[in-house]
């Protein structure tokens, strides 16, 4: 059975199943959300108005049998945070269940005329709309539990917390994990506010009895997934007992700190004296000492073989929070001058519950500290921020709007954002390559926009010397294109690690996609397909009013030296403009 598009019109409270138009049939995941947003959303529309849409798409291979680590769901729309196109993706239960219902995407559009909040239930029989008044104001921990109590078959729960209800620009979209906890977020860019603006508090997806995912070429799919699985299981970073398996993403805390690239106290230093206390090593020491339900190997979606997530327990062994990612521990910790992992666990829980992106939230708190509203290191003050946001106090609403809004309210000019979105945990003055990606990606400052793919594997040809700064623009484009492709597959982006070093894995990724979709492609096509996605995103942003002036790092990074290396951001504007010069040069 051919996949369909499920269009849910909240103005009419009507759901329709549509055949996939020819122009979208080759896309999945991020490629599909960006294609639909490019085609159907007016770039000049207000992100919270009636003309924006929230597009939800599983990846190409999601829901297919035994594709490893393939449970990512892409969410797309015009971002309230950046004003540009946005794709944010999440683990959790939603991707495979949407795919197994035979859906390539769900388009959520319109706004309820009655101004009510709605709960939407989707299964093989269709779509039901229910009044969600009794869910309004509730956090996602409670909402997830209520939905599993109400509906059978352990469905996927896609929802927004109070931040999304208030339509604040740092609202994420929550997806429940296999334990029905809300730690999986399509966090960046405020898409939770876009969902809130459609009047939808929660969507529940039950795939029981659905048609499943057909394979166009089972033999090719099987061959590809075996190659990819073998690469993941062989590589030092992703195999059992490897870096991700052992310490999770927070394995990077001590490394980036030793390198002098850990943004500290509002991007004023590259080293934090308390980094070790909030690192993955410290988290794992506590997990092992406390026992109980705590675990350092946790799959954020069914079928993940990397299991970089963890469950952090309270001292008595009961569940505290999942998961303390590196970027989360940095944002709420080092960036705020706080070295207390228990505080970070609590702050992470608060973000999961009320529906905040942790990167943006920690940056907003650091700005509040820079602006004198709080002091660096003030744990109690930082935690009170979450109460303020939950309650919708004036300051809470400002901080819930993100880093730039907080900076404007407090008169702070040192604002670590690009296109309105706050930077993640890698200081671009010390780690210069990522600065190029921060500056130029259509998504705003984003650490996941440019995952490394070696040019010799990506088939882009030519001799690239990464030690030569003049190649940074070309490298960044290659990385961004590869990332756009992987974000379309449904595979976790962390497959980039093994397929960087193991060419068979790279080929296997493309072959598994071809096997599911029937689209002819090999590893050599990955970069060109990724560039098609980037081009749509770039053109949308241009139509929304973005220019090359938006592809710049903050002024203070050009002016201020970052200790301990005492370096400034020195990449020229001309070099940055080279990254996307091809958009208007190529036919």
């Amino acid at each position: 059975m051919a996949k369909k598009i499920l269009r849910i019109n909240m103005s009419a409270l009507k759901a329709t199943y549509e055949p996939i138009p020819e122009k979208w049939v080759r896309w999945g995941g991020r490629g599909l959300t960006s294609a639909i947003v490019f085609d159907e959303v007016d770039p000049t529309c207000h992100p919270l108005g009636p003309n924006n849409k929230l597009v939800i798409a599983p990846g190409w291979v999601s829901g297919s049998p035994a594709a490893p680590s393939s449970g990512r769901t892409s969410f797309g729309g015009k971002s309230p945070l950046t004003g540009g196109i946005k794709e944010a993706n999440s683990g959790g239960l939603s991707s495979q269940k949407i795919a197994k219902l035979g859906l390539a995407a769900i388009i959520l559009e319109g706004m309820p005329k009655d101004g009510k909040w709605y709960e939407i239930f989707i299964n093989k029989d269709g779509v039901q709309f229910e009044d969600a008044a009794d869910l309004v104001g509730k956090g996602m921990y409670e909402v997830d539990k209520l939905m599993w109590a109400k509906y059978s078959n352990k469905p996927a729960v896609i929802g927004i917390g109070p931040v999304g209800e208030m339509k604040l620009s740092n609202a994420g979209v929550s997806v429940n994990d296999p334990e029905n906890e809300p730690g999986r977020y399509a966090g960046r860019g405020g898409l939770g506010a876009v969902m809130g603006a459609r009047g939808v508090k929660v969507m529940v997806v039950d795939d029981t009895g659905g048609p499943g995912v057909e394979l166009a070429n089972k033999e090719l799919f099987t061959e590809g997934r075996k190659k990819l699985t073998a690469a993941i299981q062989a590589h030092d970073l992703t195999k059992k007992d490897g870096g991700l398996w052992t310490f999770g993403t927070n394995v990077l805390m001590n490394i980036i700190n030793e390198a002098g690239g850990l943004p500290t106290r509002g991007f004023s230093s590259g080293q934090f004296e308390g980094a070790a206390k909030i690192s993955g090593e410290a988290v794992v020491e506590n997990i092992e000492a406390r026992g109980g339900v705590g675990t350092k190997h946790h799959a954020c979606h069914p079928g993940c073989i990397m299991q970089c997530s963890s469950i952090y327990p309270h001292e008595d062994g009961t569940a505290f929070v999942s998961v303390i990612e590196y970027e989360t521990s940095w944002s709420l910790g080092a960036n705020c001058g706080i070295d207390d992992i228990e505080y970070i666990a609590q702050a992470t829980w608060e973000c999961n519950d009320i529906g905040l992106d942790t990167i943006e939230a920690g940056n907003a708190i650091a700005i509040a500290m820079e602006g004198g509203y709080l002091e660096f290191g003030d744990k109690a003050g930082a935690l009170k921020t979450f109460d303020d946001i939950r309650q919708g106090t004036p300051m809470g609403r400002i901080m819930g709007q993100g880093t730039e809004a907080t900076a404007k309210a407090l008169g702070v000019f040192r604002v670590p954002t690009v296109k309105g979105q706050a930077m993640p945990a890698y200081e671009p003055r010390a780690i210069k390559g990522i600065g190029v990606t921060y500056a130029t990606t259509p998504m705003g400052a984003d650490h996941t926009s440019g995952y490394t793919i070696a040019p010799e594997i990506a088939g882009v040809g030519g001799k690239v010397d990464p030690l030569d700064n003049t190649d940074k623009a070309g490298l960044s484009l290659t990385f961004q294109a590869a990332t756009a492709f992987i974000d379309s597959t449904g595979y976790c982006l962390f497959i980039a690690f093994p397929i960087l070093d193991i060419a068979e894995g790279w080929a296997g990724m493309a072959e598994s996609v071809a096997g599911v979709t029937g689209i002819e492609m090999t590893g050599d096509d990955v970069i060109s397909i990724g560039k098609e996605i980037l081009k749509m995103e770039r053109l949308f942003n241009e139509a929304a009013g973005f220019t090359s002036a938006d592809d710049r790092l903050p002024e203070f990074m050009r002016d201020e030296e970052l200790p301990p290396h005492n370096v400034k951001w020195t990449m020229s504007n001309e070099d940055l403009d080279q990254v996307y010069a091809w958009v208007h040069e190529e036919a």
Binding site: H235, D236, L237, D241, G242, G243, L244, T246, F247, V251, L252, N254, I255, I256, E258, A259, G260, G261, G270, Q271, A276, S279, E281, A282, V284, E285, E288, Y426, A430, I431, K432, G433, I434, G435, T437, H447, G450, Y451, T452, A454, D465, P466, L467, N469, K472, L475, F479, A496, F497, L500, D501, P564, H565
Partner: protein, 116 residues
């Protein structure tokens, strides 16, 4: 004979060489003109068990390479040594400061791989 103090952090399983579990931070007294080799010998760390190694925030070694053993140390240096269970994807180290020896070594091996 003069001596120097080196502030050393051992991460992951290497911490067990300094009495820790996954993190050990210790100031070590070594002879003047000591090198990274002397520091690792002090703890008894097998050379092939280290991965990333930093001296004063400068990356001096990578997993699978032995580019740092002869790097000289001086009084007050900060050294961080990571285990083979650590990872640092290329995009998050692209453009960081590296020692001359490591830079030359990576030119031979290719800079972008995660392990060598």
């Amino acid at each position: 004979m003069n001596s120097i103090q080196v502030n050393t952090s051992l991460y992951g399983p290497l911490a067990q060489y300094a009495g820790g579990k996954y993190i050990a931070q210790k100031s070590v007294e070594l002879k003047d003109n000591a090198s990274i080799r002397d520091l690792m010998d002090y703890f008894g760390i097998p050379y092939d068990q280290k991965s990333y190694l930093f001296i004063n925030a400068v990356l001096c070694d990578m997993p699978g390479l032995l580019a740092s053993l002869d790097e000289p140390l001086k009084d007050g240096d900060r050294v961080g040594i990571f285990s083979l269970q650590h990872m640092w994807p290329y995009q998050y180290r692209d453009g960081i400061r590296m020692s001359e020896t490591l830079t030359e070594t990576l030119r031979e091996h290719g800079t972008m791989h995660n392990v060598y």
